[in-house]
């Protein structure tokens, strides 16, 4: 079993707000992130896939195919977008880095053929990242 990690970047804006909370609760729980005018990040995404090395190609995954999937399913959909307003997963849930990692996992999972998705890691900042392994 070999693990391969591919990195890409996207920049997006968001805010944290739960309509079921009072304004005071939103401010208390989410702090500065609750500002409804939004703010943004340069996100770094690391996607790790795993599998046996194909004897004919020496590949775990066709990297070009993986890059195409990442660009189509993640970068085109999220880069230079407002997560709350333009990305369907966040119409009804808060676009935290936790939820973003989970959303990206499900965007990618069904498109991978040979290799299996192992981990989605999303850096919101160089000192803050979330890992999702597909665990319930």
């Amino acid at each position: 079993m070999v693990y391969l990690t591919r990195k890409c970047e996207f920049s997006a804006s968001h805010y944290y707000h739960n309509p079921e909370f009072t304004e005071e609760e939103n401010r208390r729980v989410f702090g500065k992130c609750a500002n409804l005018n939004g703010h943004g990040h340069n996100y770094t995404l690391e996607v790790t896939v795993k599998g046996e090395v194909d004897r004919k190609t020496g590949f775990v995954v066709d990297l070009k195919e993986l890059k195409d999937i990442l660009n189509r399913e993640v970068v085109d959909a999220l880069d230079h977008r407002h997560l709350n307003k333009e990305v369907p997963e966040f119409a009804n849930q808060v676009p935290t880095t936790e939820n973003l990692a989970i959303a990206i996992w499900y965007r990618l999972q069904s498109h991978l053929r040979r290799a299996k998705l192992h981990r989605v890691r999303v850096y919101e900042l160089p000192d803050l990242f979330v890992d999702f392994y597909g665990e319930a």
Partner: protein, 135 residues
Amino acid sequence: MKAHLTRRYIFSASHRLHSDELTDEQNLAVYGKCNNPHGHGHNYALEVTISGQVNPATGMVCNLSNLDETVHDEILNRFDHVNLNLCAEFNAGVPTTENLSALIFDILKRTFNSAHLEKVRIEETAMNSFEYSGT
């Protein structure tokens, strides 16, 4: 859904690797330059990984400010800009980064209750890092 969240912190400290159970000659042989009697220092990068179910109402494993507060109060206040050898915690042990990782894990296990503590990882320099998960 269960997610893992990792936060990175920086602190600077000095230390000297020297064991009272070894002769001076043995200390020098084992620890090399790190045995320099006057000590030396590092900018340590500490990564704390916690895990748990993502709360559907907040989208968060835990409130980041709780983790920041605990790490600042319990770890950074204790170890930033100090001589580790003079810390009470190292009265009986050598302040290697192995021991420091285990110590920080144990302190956080005791004081941080908002999520499950998965792992502590410390980069002593850009070239070497240490991880401890409690076992």
